[in-house]
């Protein structure tokens, strides 16, 4: 009796606390939960992963991934999980554990084929014995081609034949995995005042016409979500996805809200930042409005490469060679005939610039987006980004008895992926979602670098020695924001504070990247504003880092070339000192010496492929701040 009374009292107190916080919070609270004890009005960086696949995804299943959504969240919260390959008794021969738990994550399995995969892998379900399902089980790689190539790479995607009339069988079967995704997110979400972990219900819309990636991850604000995802089969254009979600979510489910996050422009075959949707005419203001609202952030970094920019493709920036893929579309990975050089609309920076031009024509910038990173793991291990223990993010090659890979566990051109960082008052769904919507986010290539970035007209020179965040919010706008109207003939000032990852390398420098409209074209400039180029070094034989570096860098910088009449964007890029790439760690561990072919194991040819560097410079990219005349 006493326990019951105490529980009621606690619940009442928590509601009171929640109500009090609701009055103070600058974001709308849409769910019932205890107020977070460590609410911070000046916001903190929360590290997470918003791109995670599990066994429910058609491609992950063909790679024998067996981790399910609940396992992925367990991993994100710090528990160890098993990885393929599995022995005859179903025991995993590898395992993984994150070094530091994430603050948030979203399982984003491919929405297409959720039902088909369930049917094919569940004995007794109608359709289990279809030829397509037999092929999917017996020859997983063919299943990938059949399911992925013929459905997700089609211009006009169709359901597989065994789904029956109106695809009723597959749609009905998809309810099971979708419920599992929702329930796993709910179970993992910490609704207590500790606010240790936030999970989002999500999925991936997987359209890649002609293997040109247009994928979007859809993240729902809270537990109010549609009864089924809107997939590429239902909505083959991004604008149809937004319209479909408007109808199935905002208009149909009380409290439902969403945002869509495009990823991998680098393999979009140039489709991602065009002024039209592939075979459609140029879009107008309505489209631009909707894209700006429903796609406030873009994933710039992940397992399948980095999408910021590429040297020689609209830029001469020498640091744009980071984690680049040698092809511009998915098909290039499998078919040499499809290897095409990337075009400027494959990259985020060019998209940001083109957005300025489109704003001039349409009155709205459709590409006014912030930035995040994520992993795109297909093993169900969100946030597994460490270069020195990369286990691949898709499938498994041959392994030795101790569980270590023979050769490289991943394609040499891939990488461990990045992280999404969100500046929010607390670790709750509403706070994080509101931050993503206002684009107060940034991306890292893996390390937990902390970066503040404010723009304003009168940020003080001594901001770095005082309370930068308080002054930055009071006198300017944070990353993702727009500079207020120009007060006089001033030039904009930008305050950037970066702190190293305590488990990573020291910082080398901060750069500010600026793009501005110059007539009908875009100019860009990259300024070194703090730190020193060339600082730090690494011994590729041992991967030991040496030399100097910074724990913290802070600067208030004034644009020396400001043109008040030109639209512009500014973002900060923070660079670490050089470290070994993931492949260098593994090749060293396996004793590979490129001058002795006998030391190169199966799957290890990448160790000696000169196209891929042995050393990288990990980094963070803030969301931009925009200026409008």
């Amino acid at each position: 009796m006493r326990a019951k009374t105490t529980a009621r009292a606690c619940f009442a107190l928590s509601l009171i606390a929640a109500t009090a916080a609701a009055q103070a919070a600058p974001f709308e609270r849409t769910e019932q939960r205890q107020a977070c004890a460590d609410y911070d009005p000046l916001r903190r960086p929360f590290f997470g992963d918003l791109h995670v696949h599990t066994a429910l995804s058609f491609d992950a299943a063909t790679q024998d991934t067996r981790n399910r959504p609940a396992d992925a969240y367990r991993f994100a919260r710090g528990e160890r999980v098993g990885l393929q390959p599995y022995d005859d008794n179903g025991k995993p021969l590898r395992s993984a554990q994150i070094d530091r738990p994430l603050d948030f994550a979203a399982v984003t399995d491919h929405s297409e084929l959720l039902g088909e995969v369930r049917i094919c892998l569940t004995p007794g379900m109608e359709g289990y014995d279809s030829l397509a399902c037999i092929a999917y089980r017996k020859w997983p790689r063919l299943g990938f081609i059949l399911f992925g190539g013929d459905v997700l790479a089609a211009d006009a995607p169709q359901r597989l034949g065994f789904c029956g009339d109106g695809a009723a069988l597959c749609l009905d079967a998809a309810l099971g995995p979708w419920d599992e995704i929702r329930e796993a997110a709910e179970a993992a979400y910490d609704r207590s005042s500790a606010c240790r972990f936030t999970s989002f219900v999500g999925y991936e819309w997987t359209g890649a016409p002609d293997t040109r990636n247009l994928h979007r991850n859809v993240i729902f604000r809270n537990a109010a979500v549609p009864s089924l995802p809107v997939s590429y089969i239902d909505a083959p254009y991004p604008s149809q996805l937004w319209e479909g979600l408007e109808a199935a979510c905002r208009s149909s489910v009380t409290g439902c809200d969403f945002l869509a996050i495009p990823h991998n422009p680098n393999i979009s075959g140039g489709l991602m930042f065009l002024d039209h949707e592939r075979d459609r005419p140029a879009f107008g203001r309505d489209y631009a409005d909707r894209r700006r609202r429903d796609e406030p952030i873009v994933e710039i970094m992940q397992h399948k490469g980095e999408s910021e920019c590429k040297t020689g493709v609209g830029t001469s920036d020498e640091l744009c060679g980071f984690e680049k893929l040698p092809y511009d579309r998915f098909g290039g990975q499998f078919d040499p005939r499809q290897v095409q050089p990337p075009t400027r609309t494959n990259f985020v920076r060019n998209g940001l610039g083109d957005g300025l031009l489109l704003e001039g024509k349409l009155g709205v910038n459709p590409f006014q987006f912030g930035l995040i990173g994520s992993t795109d793991t297909h093993l169900g291990i969100p946030g597994a980004v460490a270069e020195d223990r990369h286990q691949g993010h898709g499938g498994a090659g041959p392994i030795r008895g101790d569980g270590r890979p023979i050769g490289l566990p991943d394609n040499i051109e891939f990488n461990p992926g990045g992280l999404a960082v969100v500046w929010a008052e607390e670790n709750s769904r509403d706070a994080l979602f509101a931050a993503m919507r206002r684009r107060e986010t940034y991306a890292t290539s893996g390390p937990r670098i902390s970066v503040r970035f404010f723009g304003g007209w009168q940020l003080a020179d001594d901001l770095c020695s005082g309370e930068l965040a308080r002054a930055g919010y009071a006198g300017g706008v944070p990353m993702g924001g727009e500079l207020p109207a120009l007060p006089s003939s001033a030039a904009p000032r930008f305050a950037t504070l970066a702190m190293r990852d305590s488990a990573g390398a020291p910082l080398q420098r901060i750069q500010i990247v600026k793009g501005w409209q110059a007539g009908d074209s875009i100019e860009e400039a990259v300024y070194d504003v703090a730190g020193t180029p060339g600082l730090g070094s690494v011994d590729t034989a041992t991967c030991k880092i040496s030399g100097e570096g910074h724990d913290t860098l802070c600067v208030v910088w004034t644009d020396p070339d400001f043109d008040p009449s030109a639209r512009a964007y500014y973002y900060a890029r923070v660079l670490e000192a050089p470290t070994c790439r993931w492949s260098t760690h593994i090749c060293n561990e396996q004793g590979v010496r490129c001058d002795d072919p006998s030391t190169i194991p199966d799957n290890g040819a990448g160790c000696c492929d000169d196209r891929y560097p042995k050393v990288i410079q990990e980094r963070a990219w803030t969301s931009p701040v925009w200026y409008k005349p």
């Binding site: 030829l131 397509a132 020859w139 081609i145 089609a154 090659g397």
Partner: protein
């Protein structure tokens, strides 16, 4: 056993068991017969789920299977000729059986491997078919 019979038996054994390189939709090493089997299955699947991916699999895998079957034929022919010399113009059944025992015995080890047929490491003949 006649030379022709011996040649056919050896050819079938070779196609069934000898791992041959697989390039397209690979890489890996699998028996030629496995390639033909997969191609035939995908051909049947074309009727139910026509699409460019299935069609590509049919021809890419089928062509590789046919190529290797054609390569193995003269090898079987040569082997049959050699055995026929030992057997006074006929291929000794015991010799064919011995070849079969050796090849099938070897195939019980994990000497095959291709992502198309195996998710992780190498497999034996049972893992292939």
């Amino acid at each position: 056993m006649s030379i022709v019979g011996g040649r056919r038996a050896l050819w079938a054994l070779f196609c069934l068991t000898i791992p041959v390189p697989m390039w397209f939709i690979g890489p890996g090493q699998v028996p030629a017969l496995a390639l033909l089997q997969i191609s035939a299955f995908m051909g049947a699947l074309m009727l139910a789920e026509p699409g460019p991916g299935v069609w590509t699999a049919v021809w890419a895998i089928g062509l590789q299977g046919l190529f290797w079957a054609a390569v193995l034929y003269p090898i079987a022919r040569l082997a049959a000729s050699v055995l026929a010399r030992v057997g006074d113009g006929r291929v000794p059944l015991a010799a064919v059986a011995a070849v079969a025992v050796v090849l099938i015995g070897l195939s019980l080890f994990d000497i095959y491997g291709a992502r198309i047929i195996a998710r992780g490491g190498p497999v034996n003949l049972f893992g292939v078919y």
